[in-house]
Symmetry: C2
Subunit: 318 residues, 2 copies
């Protein structure tokens, strides 16, 4: 049972190993946006970001003859991804493969040395038990599919030279593998993040998306019930059952939340972080969308992840 060995080794050599955060989700689910703010906030000297979508077994030309898309585990060196996650989680460097999205070719690998914190984002970081054993905190990004499709069409047409119809066809082709391999990873997340418009009301144009954060009791979340006890606000914490019947806390942050209201939650988390959130932390980096606008739901999501990163780092020193 290699995943147990990893758990044991990581528990033993705790003093110096990096804190590992996984951000899993389908293509264009928002992984990069979530990651970018965290790296900027903690600083690139303390944080390493790794994308595990580079472990392609075949390049774009070779995939044309294959009966699966790039999402399929058989299309990826999953065993090498597991190996590299284990090495990073022990503080060891890796020579990471690199896939060039522009040309669709596998190119010269790059050396990655894990810093104090490592964010691993990608399509399949939680696919296997051994991979999951490497993480302290696991996140699954779960936007509504229609929204994700729109984001993917926008991005792939803007930066990867595709037409909208090409992207739609690719989404159709990928759907069975999304269902089979990507979405089941939601099950293994400590936190499930869904950015979506609020269904119940028509937000004015320019309102950021709301965030719904399912906080599973698999890790210790900061105590927020006290600061969120007033009903009827733009933020609330509700005990409910997840789609599989398991109990979760659902933290809602509506897109129309006022700065004063979101500040209550932010302040509670920053206070809990105390001096750890002092020098070298760029608080303003949180909540920035890729178009430069600000989103309080995103800021609070990132702040919660920052909390867990710093908590896990502290837990090691103890």
């Amino acid at each position: 049972m290699p995943h147990r060995i990893v758990h044991m080794l990581r528990a033993r050599g705790a003093a110096r190993r990096p804190v590992m955060l996984a951000i899993a989700g389908d293509s264009a689910a928002g992984k990069t946006t979530l990651t970018r703010g965290l790296v900027q906030c903690l600083g690139a000297d303390r944080m390493t970001a790794v994308c595990v979508d580079d472990y392609h077994r075949y390049d774009r030309a070779e995939r044309r003859d294959k009966p699966f898309t790039a999402l399929h585990p058989d299309c990826n060196h999953i065993d090498i991804m597991e190996q590299h996650l284990q090495l990073l989680s022990m503080g060891e460097p890796i020579l990471k493969p690199v896939y060039d999205h522009t040309t669709g070719r596998l190119v010269r690998p790059e050396l990655v040395r894990p810093r104090e914190f490592v964010i691993v984002e990608g399509l399949l970081p939680l696919h296997t038990r051994l991979a999951r054993a490497c993480f302290d905190i696991t996140v699954y990004l779960d936007p509504p599919e229609h929204l994700r499709h729109r984001w993917k069409i926008d991005r792939d047409c803007r930066t990867r030279g595709y037409t909208p119809d090409q992207v739609r066809r690719e989404l159709d082709r990928r759907e069975p593998e999304s269902a089979a391999f990507i979405r089941p990873q939601r099950r293994w997340a400590d936190i499930v993040v869904r950015f979506a418009p609020v269904a119940e009301r028509a937000d004015p144009p320019g309102t950021p998306l709301s965030a719904e954060l399912l906080l599973r009791p698999t890790i210790d979340h900061p105590e927020l019930a006290e600061v969120l006890k007033e009903p009827g606000t733009a933020m609330h914490l509700r005990l409910r059952r997840d789609t599989d019947g398991r109990p979760v806390d659902a933290l809602h942050v509506h897109g129309y939340v006022s700065p004063e209201e979101s500040q209550v939650v932010k302040k509670a988390i920053w206070e809990r972080l105390g001096p750890r959130a002092g020098d070298g932390i760029d608080r303003d980096a949180l909540g920035r969308l890729s178009d430069g606008t600000a989103s309080d739901p995103l800021a609070i999501t990132q702040l919660l992840l920052l909390y867990h990163l710093l908590e896990a780092g502290d837990g090691q020193a103890a």
Copy 2:
């Protein structure tokens, strides 16, 4: 002390781990010729050959600005080489970097799964203690420098598009690093192999080079004193002191050895191997030079290494 951990882990998980043989030596010392016959003899389905000269940190263009040549450890990802040797020695696959000698560029890495036997050849496989801890058998190829220079000029002009003057200048440039990093590895070899013309007599043209094999008591060599006890033959085994004063057995196989005489030693080793040297072993693959001619000194050298590979494989099962 990571090298101790490797020793312990390898001793523990002995049942399934590959037998690891290192062949170290300077550029054009004959590593590929020695390796090729062993792979052919045991078969590519049982034997994996890995060259560790692909762990370049810089490509050819990047090296132009550097104050060292490709021989320098700082010019190579030595820590990743160590990591990959550890993984291979535990039976784990690696995604090995690939350096294209034709273009001088680092390209798409390749998956290497270790088979029953792994030969690791290259410039620096014995450079660090951790790397050395990964091997069952270590060999250093130590031809006279004037011979190696001639081989390198021949090869680099024939297959890599250089002129003789360019190769000579490169050899001069590399000499301080050969002395500092390559030749000190001789110290760590269980077997030091020197192919050279016999100095004492003028061999007729076409006589293969003689082999001098220093057999250090760091591993158990086959008992050859009995079959080689007659003096004055073209083969002999002599107890002597190495240049550093340490005792070694020196096995000489002269290039003019007769087939009958060399057969005595070959037979002794094949008999000692018994049924392990049966089905699937291609005895005729041993002793072939790259130009297609045969060399008994090479054949006996390879047979001795084959002996150690199969012995080490057996030692694991016990």
